[in-house]
Every structure is written in structure tokens, then in C-alpha cells.
Subunit: 296 residues, 2 copies
Amino acid sequence: MTGNSSFQEWLKQHSEQFESVLGDILDSAQTIPNRLHEAMRYAAQGGGKRVRPLLVYAAGQLGDAKPEMLDCAAVAIECIHAYSLVHDDLPCMDNDDLRRGRPTVHKAFDEATALLVGDALQTRAFEILALADDSAQLRLQMIAALAAASGSRGMAGGQAIDLDSVGKKLDLADLKHMHALKTGALLSCAVQMGGIAAHLNVSQMDSLRGYSEALGLTFQIVDDVLDATADSQTLGKTAGKDAANDKPTYVTLMGLDYAQKQAQTLQAQAIGHLEGFGSEADPLRELALLVVNRGK
Amino acid sequence: MTGNSSFQEWLKQHSEQFESVLGDILDSAQTIPNRLHEAMRYAAQGGGKRVRPLLVYAAGQLGDAKPEMLDCAAVAIECIHAYSLVHDDLPCMDNDDLRRGRPTVHKAFDEATALLVGDALQTRAFEILALADDSAQLRLQMIAALAAASGSRGMAGGQAIDLDSVGKKLDLADLKHMHALKTGALLSCAVQMGGIAAHLNVSQMDSLRGYSEALGLTFQIVDDVLDATADSQTLGKTAGKDAANDKPTYVTLMGLDYAQKQAQTLQAQAIGHLEGFGSEADPLRELALLVVNRGK
């Protein structure tokens, strides 16, 4: 089903659109200070599956979203994601040398620059939304959603809980809570931003929330399965780090087989939440399949 | 003139109002994750002269600003300032152990927490503005202004230039450019946000820009003078670091006497830009005097 040719076409078209818009919206490496802007582009343009931008586009086509607003939302949320990766890779956090097969920002540049790159990418995300071409109310809704998903009660809060969890015996509920904040909140926000841009009604937004919560959990379980089973080259980052750091994962808590089955079940649940939509939701359905089948 | 009793009353009233609102708006240390929220409060509530919030209030009284909007703008800009200090103090940047006479956040907590504290304080700043109670257009103007002042073409950009300047022979123009971004942009933004909230017209906003640009430069010259002349206890942070790091300063480029005179001249220029305003601009005038006379 992921071989579906019209979805492959959708994926290609929106991925290309995103990379093009991202390149245009980010300051050029000729903008002063050059090194900082060069490093920001390095951080944001390093590839990856672009799951969050694709979710923005996929949810955005459920209604009458302005294409330019979707572009801005897609770039903004990817800037937040990119900032979190740059800071997460720093020596005082995960101390990773590799990201998507390339040196991490603090390795390619230096630690102080990586710190500023993350800081400035976050700022840029909110600036892009503030300056987008759509109603003021809609832009504010997006800014509030993105801030809630990425701040101390969202992504950054999840990272803080993660820090505290090393070496601790978390149970499954704690682990789910941590990941719901650390990874789930921003994935849900991508879907939510698409829905806001598309002027969806409350019941449609509820369906999207059901979809994205199941998707976020699936995403993290698959992440843990990959960390336990794939090698560093396939992952494009250091594999087996969770086990080495004695971090609790879905695999250590559930076992590998059950974790893989759970991912399948949750993926089906995610798709089930979309039953009120027609074929316009096919990209969201296909993206749920892609998440489970990804090599990351 | 700074002994002016009505200004002292203004200062006391607005400082108390600010601390009270800041305490209310920041998440309590009982909010999960507790340690992160406790550290965010530690970072933001550590005192300081609160120059930026006071500038917001002072500019806000030039027109018909909503008091609650000024409170939100004051807290938002101080969150940005606090985040920049927390990140600036990290080992990979200035590696400072002391800030306002207390251990820096990474000393009182740990480096990873300090990184997340800065990240989450930035996010919170934009969230506060997005959720404030005023017109959508006005809130967006403030968000755009704050993002421009603090991002890669503002404060973070100035820090990147500062990093690159260690050991280099910057001339006075380069030094001014660096500080205009690193410190000046956010001070100007504080005044600008007050003016936006107060619904000032274009010509009034131009006057405020003249005022705040002169003020920002004064502020930095006084900073350099204090770094060269005061001891660590008076400063509440490690003194003489610029000279020790071979960083160019106004004092090393102009000499101490001339730098002190320049600060006086610029302060007078700042006040000159306010001639179109009446006594409602007295707090802005007094704040310009305070900046030059501060023990920081």
C-alpha cells in the first residue's frame, strides 16, 4: 500500500516543495553573521524524512488551507524539530557525533555555534508564523499550538523527564507520558497546524487528535525497535545508545515481539480515527503506514 | 535627578508589579516536570535591575496601552533576556559560575537542565504574547518584533559575532555593530513593544527608536566601564573577564576616560529624542540616567 503510486507522487511533490520553500525561507549563508546562518542551514537542510512537514501538508488538504500558510507552518515546525535535534546532540545531552549520516552541528562547527543555531532556529519558527500571509487569528492559534507543543509542558518537558529517567525503573505509563511530551506533542502539533490552516471544525480536529496521538506512540515504539535492531549506518546515527545508557524503552519494557505488534495495532487505530474523511485523507493514512515501515 | 521621588515611586511600583506578574505567569515548581520548572523560575526570578520590563512599562505609558498587555510584554521580553543569560553562562560559551551573586543555572542544577531552561524560557516568551488579551494584530506585531530582535539577525547573531571576535582586532564600527545586535536589539525591542501596546503613531515610534538606539549603546559602554573598574562582588558576576579573554571593549578601544564621557553624551542624546513628549515620558528619561549611574 505504501507502494501506491499516487501517494508516491504526492510524497515526491510535497517533499520537493518543502525543501524548496525551506531553502528560500532560511537566511542565506551570505547573511551576516555568515557562519551562524551557514550552520542554521546545515542543521535544517540535512535531510531526514520530513515527517512533521508532510503531516502539515497532509492534514492541510482536508479543508481549504492557503498553500502558502501550509508552507510556512511546515517550515516553522521543522525549524523547531531541527533545533531540538541540534541541542539534543550536544555533549551535555546525548553527546552524539552523527546525525543522518553527517557530523552533528557541534562537530561540523563548534559547541557554542550549535547552541546558538538551536536558539535561533527556534526564534525563526515563531517569526515565520508571525509573518505568514493568513488571518491574524489563525497565525496566533498556530503560534500558541507550536509553543505549547514544544515548551516546558511539551517537547522540552519530555526531554527533562527523559534526563531524569536514566537508570530509573520507569513503568510503561511513565514511559508513555515521557514520549507523549518528548516526541508525540510535536507530531500532534504538525497535524493540528494543518487542521487549523484548513479551517476544520471541532469534531474534525478531535478526529485528527485521535489520529496523531496514536501515530505519535507508534512513532516512538518504532524508534525503539529500530534502535534495538538496526545498525548505525542504516539509522544514520549511533545505534544501541538507549541500551548502552540504561534507558528504559518500549523494547526493554514490552519485549521486541510485542513492541512490533503494538506498533501495528496502533497504526491501525490511527487510521481508524480518519474514517469520517474521504480520499482527501489518504496521505495521512499512507503516512501512518510509512512511519511503521520506515528505516527511519 | 534619579533621586526624584516620584520616579522612585514609579520604579518601586512597576518593579513590584513586574515581580508579582512574573511569579504568576511562570509555571509553578509543582508543575511536571518539577525540576525543569523550578530551574526556570530560578533563572527568571534571580533579580537584576529588570531594565527591559521597566522600559516596556515606561514606553507603554506614552499612550493608551492595556495594563495587562504591558505585563505580558514585560514578562515575555524578560524571559528572552533570562534565556540568553542562562545559555551565555554555559561552559561552551562564557563558562560563568556566578550571575547576580548566585550560582548560574548550570551550577545550581546541571548543564543539560540549563540548556532546556533556556530553550523553554524562549518558547514561553512567545506563548505569553500569543495568549495575551489584546487585538490579534497587536500581539502578532509584538511577536514579530521580539523574534527579529532576539534571533539570528538580532541578539543571537550578535553573540555569534562576539564568539568570532575573540582575539581579533575589531575596530569601533565592528564593535558597535556587534553590540547593536547583542544587547541593543533587545533593549530597543522593549521600548518598541511598549510603544506598540500604546498604539503610538509612526513619528512617535521613530522618536522611540532614536531614544532606544542611543540608550542601547550607552548601556554597553557602561557595561564595559564597569567590567574594567568594578569588582566581582559589586557586579554580581566575574569582573575583568573581557580583558582576560582578550575581547575588544569600548574601554580598550576608546580608553576609560573617553568611554565614560561618551556614555554621558549618548545619554543626553537619548533624552533629546524624547523632546516631543511631555511629562508622561519622564520614566523613560529617568531610566536613561539610571543606566549610566547603575552599579549594574
